[in-house]
Symmetry: C2
């Protein structure tokens, strides 16, 4: 396509259909009040000519782009390596597509690119944004606030100022963690370790709090930071075993780090669950079912959370009409429940 064919115009469509420009415009923009026989002629002419409506001009009228940006505050390598993001995107994609709204995924190499992402968000290219996997030191929330784009966050935002009014979808991380640790306690385990997630993310902080809710007087040596990755789980498990060889259970902050922990336990000749019981968080399939042994874990419905994020944003943008969530009719944040799924590891 080094040579561009001239782009079919609204006028060409009007001439082909034998109607006025205004009629074509009304049909193309989905306005009411055009006779069906005329509308059908317009649609046929649009198809025959391969006419693409001028979205920029259309946006000036409707003030809409029918597009929503998704920003995952991780390098693109991580986005494609961690199935959590694919699941969340699946839910988002289904919901946006059901509303004929384009999913615009803004990928980056890291936080250094977030100012550029904010410029794109401020550039009148999308109606709103879905932002997830935020880290506490990330300038993105402030940049987004300045960009003035309606936003829904995945996971409770952790920044102080301005964060209170933010709309978000999160799961009950703290309650879910409590369930997992209470389960390990109910098995009679007394030296229960915790491999945390990335502690610059609220999900990891909340799961740690849930662990401490059940075991307020725990030995600090039994808590080791991880980063939600299998490699981080391996590192943390090695550190814990070196420091506390008598541990008899591990609650890992997600299934991927639990899978790393299981590998190290096997490597050290420890039996799961006989010597060490292991619980994860996510119920990410196929990960949780294919570990050896299959993983007892806290289930959150990641795909559904993606769908809820998209739905909340569309409601905020009033794409679904007024559907009161609350007494004053404004949409509000959603915290989804979690459940314990028992498999062989604990």
């Amino acid at each position: 396509m080094t040579e561009m064919a001239p782009r079919p115009t609204l006028e060409a469509v009007a001439a082909r259909a034998g109607v006025s420009r205004a009629t074509v415009s009304r049909v193309v923009n989905g306005a009411q009040g055009v006779r069906e026989s005329l509308a059908a002629r317009v649609r046929q002419a649009v198809e025959e000519l391969g006419y693409v409506p001028n979205q920029a001009a259309r946006s000036l009228v409707t003030r809409r782009h029918d597009a929503v940006a998704v920003v995952i505050a991780e390098p693109e390598t991580r986005v494609f390596a961690d199935p959590f993001f694919a699941l969340q995107l699946r839910g988002i994609s289904k919901e946006l597509t059901a509303h004929d709204c384009q999913l615009v995924l803004l990928l980056t190499e890291g936080q250094g690119d977030h100012a550029r992402v904010a410029r794109y968000l401020a550039g009148n290219h999308v109606d709103g944004a879905l932002v997830f996997s935020l880290h506490l030191d990330d300038p993105l929330p402030g940049l987004i606030r300045n960009a003035g784009v309606p936003t829904v966050f995945g996971g409770r935002p952790g920044w102080g100022e301005g964060g209170e009014g933010a709309l978000y979808v999160d799961s009950d991380n703290r309650g879910g963690a409590r369930t997992a640790v209470e389960h390990l306690v109910s098995l009679g385990r007394r030296r229960i370790a915790h491999i945390t997630g990335a502690l610059d993310q609220t999900s990891a902080v909340d799961r740690l709090e849930g662990f401490k809710d059940v075991l307020p007087d725990t030995d600090p040596a039994l808590i080791e930071p991880g980063d939600f990755t299998p490699a981080g789980g391996e590192r943390a498990m090695r550190a814990l075993l070196d420091r506390c060889p008598d541990l008899d259970a591990v609650f890992a902050a997600n299934d991927l780090s639990a899978s790393g922990a299981l590998r190290v336990l096997r490597e050290r000749g420890l039996r799961v669950p006989e010597d060490v019981a292991v619980a994860g968080f996510d119920d990410m399939l196929p990960v949780a079912e294919q570990t050896d042994p299959p993983l007892t874990t806290v289930r959150q419905d990641i795909e559904h959370m993606g769908l809820l994020m998209a739905r909340l944003l569309l409601r905020r943008l009033d794409r679904n009409g007024p559907e009161p969530d609350t007494e004053d009719g404004a949409p509000r944040s959603i915290v989804t429940p979690t459940t314990l799924v028992r498999r062989a590891s604990a």
Copy 2:
């Protein structure tokens, strides 16, 4: 963020820095001729206020968005399931980021959404587009042509009319396939089967042609359509073994389908390579190394092809200045070489 803080204006930055609006505008838009001491004051004010330039207004001046769309003509589930796309995106992301250009990935649920993708491309949101994994019946190329967006394709486009001038990056699919099949012949194999890729894609057609180049008089029963997926490879291998139990080698159109074929061969009690030699295409890691046995395959550098696509588009957009690829200085399509990688399977 149900309440928006007022967005800092250009005027506010000018007041803070003690300079004129015009000076702020010049610094923000990267124009020359502003004294460094003034520019530094402007940059400091921008930072202190969290000012985000109005990209829409800026685009009117520069006619640039500093953004490139990527369209993978597959459902988003497939995009996240096949590591080929993650690799190609990695190359694209690195190259675009090096030019401070935003990667805008447009995800869909399938071909039914391609008209919406074309509307977004036509909507003045990006400077150009990278499009890959096209299928022959896809209306996208025509829609993109009408949208008038400079485009580089990944893989030689297969449509006739208008396709001749298209810029693309492809690997030497036909030559690579020849190398693999010649290798199987050199091992003394005489009943060599081929599991094709999705035959509505030129890469699959070209690899089939390469197979036929070496074996022009092959038994048609030895050719079975696949679809580039592990499940498709399994189905095809079963059909081939049922029809031709005497086959002694298989060339699969990619590593994922070869991995499916290997599973079926093992299931049927056939030894690889003793009974059946197997070769793939891609050298996709870790797939090709982790099959049992590790896979002999045709290597193409997928990440580098992504990088070349981005580079070709940026050159087409004149982002790199005039850098003549050809005598007339115009950028031209690129076909990258392939090499055979020998492992245990053949």
